[in-house]
Subunit: 498 residues, 2 copies
């Protein structure tokens, strides 16, 4: 079986064993078993524990050998000195993949690095793929596999993550849950003693469940193999990379975190760019751009139109778009003429189209439609969703216009607001589908996750998000446009070679 076939078993196992499962809630061996069960993994789960007969309602076994059926995936969470014996057990049982949670290897010091090298040698002899050691676990949402210490259960989605930090991965999935964004797979790759990030990247490249790849990397142990894998994946799927350890202090921190050398930051960045990766700067950038790639079409060019309710946000969006290398063409004469027909005269007559708080949601809808459908623009940034906020504000008033039945007025206003919001949000979705152009909407009244937020719910149904500020929207559209240009270049080169 090839590495890629074994990774297929890692992410879609039929049976899982937890070697070092514990009945003590504060232990990692408890958390991992608990989360496998809580995550509703459909196949057999075997806790391996010398003393316990049963943990969390599942029959426990004193050894892997005594489990009644085959095991594809073993999660190893025993003390460091017991890891190699556990791996040998896995070999004898014919396990395809191991996830080694246990820390205390290369990240600690020279002696422990020798222990890690011995571990690698033993794993290679078994022929297994092995994640870790010193990792947080593996998640595969479509298989309902939550073999991880983090108590986070995101819905199934199109984004897969490889992270050399468990807590960075947890941050990303936690945000996803808050915004209703799903993930396909998450691997906390730890010290990468055997299975390396480039092998995971290659797997995600071929995986039909993965459309966008996110990576948090401190270093790549096998640089050439990594950039080769990257260059194979990027023509088909965007790969977003956040690099940790780009400064000397950060790099020192990497050494005691995963024991992986951070390498020279500028060289790494330029090689990534050349291989077509999308480099991001911050956790915000990583999260918002992954959601964007998973939910928006690529723009044909970098020509952008901006539609805004308020002037300041329009100015800031224009600045941010230009800084992202996007182009803001002047409004075509026919668009100006058509807008003049229904906009109050104070509108900006310019790109950004600033409605200056004029007109209702119908007017905004018509304006957006004209901009999105104009051949002058291949993408639109829309600022200040709908106009519901005004109706919502009114519900907080102590007046309700002197009406006797306040509760009813309030209810009517809220339902008007919800209807108007829903209609407008659906229009945004429809326009993007119809034209194949990305429309990125930013709003501070609609960007906070909340169950009664109709706009957010409507966007969420298509995996979309409302950006909290114009900067986030412009940054993400910049990533889309740069990646689109890369794809076009690859295609042209392919054609000219073909």
């Amino acid at each position: 079986m090839s590495v890629q076939e074994k990774l297929q078993q890692l992410f879609h196992p039929e049976a899982v064993a937890v070697i070092g499962a514990s009945a003590t809630p504060s232990k990692w061996g408890f958390g991992i078993l608990h989360n496998l069960i809580q995550g509703q993994f459909p196949g057999p789960i075997y806790p391996i524990n010398l003393k316990e007969k049963e943990i969390l309602g599942r029959k426990a076994y004193p050894s892997l050998a005594e489990t009644p059926g085959p095991v594809d995936l073993a999660v190893i969470v025993v003390p460091p000195e017991k890891v190699i014996p556990a791996v040998l057990d896995c070999g004898r049982k014919g396990v395809a993949a191991a996830v080694i949670i246990t820390a205390g290897f290369g990240e600690v010091g020279a002696e422990e690095m020798r222990r890690q090298e011995e571990l690698s040698r033993v794993i290679r002899q078994t022929g297994m793929v092995a994640i870790g050691p010193n990792c947080q676990g593996v998640m595969s949402a479509q298989s309902r596999l939550f073999a991880q210490f983090l108590w986070i259960f995101p819905p199934a989605g199109k984004i897969s993550i490889v992270s050399q930090s468990g807590n960075v991965g947890g941050s990303l999935m936690g945000r996803g849950m808050a915004f209703g964004i799903g993930f396909s797979k998450f691997v906390s790759s730890g010290n990468e003693a055997v299975t390396k990030c480039h092998e995971l990247l290659e797997y995600f490249g071929e995986d039909p469940e993965t459309e966008v790849v996110m990576a948090y990397l401190e270093g790549v142990p096998e640089g050439r193999a990594f950039f080769r894998a990257l260059a194979r994946v990027t023509p088909r799927k965007p790969v977003l990379i956040l690099k940790g350890g780009v400064t000397e202090a950060g790099s020192r921190a990497c050494a005691s975190h995963t024991g992986i050398l951070a390498g020279e930051a500028n060289l790494f960045a330029s090689a990534c760019r050349q291989a077509g990766a999308v480099l991001v700067d911050t956790l915000d950038d990583l999260f918002y751009s992954a959601v964007t790639f998973a939910s928006q079409p690529l723009p044909r060019t970098n020509r952008v139109g901006i539609v805004t309710w308020g002037g300041g946000w329009g100015v800031l969006a224009a600045d941010a778009c230009v800084r992202e290398g996007l182009c803001l063409p002047a409004l075509p004469a026919e668009v100006i003429a058509e807008l003049n027909e229904f906009l109050p005269s104070r509108w900006s007559h310019n790109n950004p189209v600033d409605l200056a708080a004029g007109g209702g949601p119908g007017v905004l809808s018509r304006t957006l439609e004209l901009m999105v459908k104009s051949p002058a623009f291949d993408g639109v940034v829309q600022l200040g969703i709908g106009i519901s906020s005004f109706l919502r504000f009114m519900t907080q008033s102590s007046f309700f216009f002197g009406h006797a039945d306040r509760a009813k007025v309030r209810e009517t206003l809220l339902s008007m607001a919800a209807e108007s919001d829903k209609k407008f949000s659906e229009k945004v979705m429809q326009l993007s589908r119809e034209t194949g152009k990305p429309i990125l909407s930013a709003s501070d009244t609609a960007s906070t996750p909340s169950e009664d937020n109709v706009v957010m719910q409507t966007f969420r149904q298509e995996g979309k998000i409302i950006y909290p500020t114009p900067f986030h929207a412009a940054r993400c559209l910049g990533h889309l446009a740069r990646y689109a240009r890369f794809r076009q270049k690859i295609k042209r080169e392919g054609l000219s070679q073909g």
Copy 2:
């Protein structure tokens, strides 16, 4: 009366008139009157309207002249052609300050710019200060004055805002409300036909209710006066500036927004820096750094310690701190020795101090205390608040360890989590007070505003915030350190001159 004395009346009026008050809920003349009343302004409010006898329960007057008492502040929200007559009425009534909401002046075109110049001339003859035209209103929380169209009523606080955009100001106050952060004053300065941003800046500089000044500026109509005012305020109070119109496209957008020329961005930035302003890049940067300046002491030097639960966040924080010009000294031998006494051996032995998810909240507390009290560090970034998240996660479990009375177990766990969170948060506050050093805490489990978030509530009581990522914390600490250095320089120069 000087301009500054009149501004004092603008922010602390005894009686307010709304010229153009309306009974129609969709009109601005309704919103402004409504918000004045809803905001519980304690003095007389006079709606001026030719036809109505009463609006929102307040007696209306056909003209300003017929109001029964003196009026300090008039909010003018009539059509453009009626603004000058309204201003003349204000002059005759002896009004000290006007806020001209009405748009349709310099921001539209050359002809309207002439109308604005005529308006300026008339206002100057009356001797009033006048905000606008083309603005959104004025807020003065300590006076309970919400003379604004925005239905936003933030609690009283230490931060004052001058913004050449109403919607940028609204964004900032809306965020403040979500995080429980108060403001003192907000001025949407619009086209600045008469009263300019530098006069407001000077007022905030002397205002005992203002400790931090935020400015969103597209351009400064009187550059020399602005930088002079800025240089007078910054030695006493931090002034945070977000500049709109730093690109050509953004600058064009400014012209149709406020009609104020954006000017040359690099020149503006370097003059601001020289005058001691804190320049920020984005709305996030502006908001988080204002809250930071309002709630954290200034660090003595730029030497920073990092304490983290998870390795990846520690690496990213180290990178971000270095990029901000902060310095991460090595751990002193005595700190290492003391930490060795109670930390599990896998801790990083390095700055960042990475606990590698080891130990409980007591251990975290002791680690933080050692770092904050060490003379090696003048500020600390702490990542991953408390350990309550684990207890909270458990409450979502379908097991509760087989306990018969699940609801009670859940309640117990939640109250344990809350107690642990509260204790730790109070420790953070106490350590900062005791040592006079800033401690910036980042956590993604604790950064979302929510009523039952004990950590957030405890921080909020001291006007503090939990930063959503290590990047936000590092950026804000960078601003603090740079501003502290500026203040020290000013002080040294003052002493050497004295």
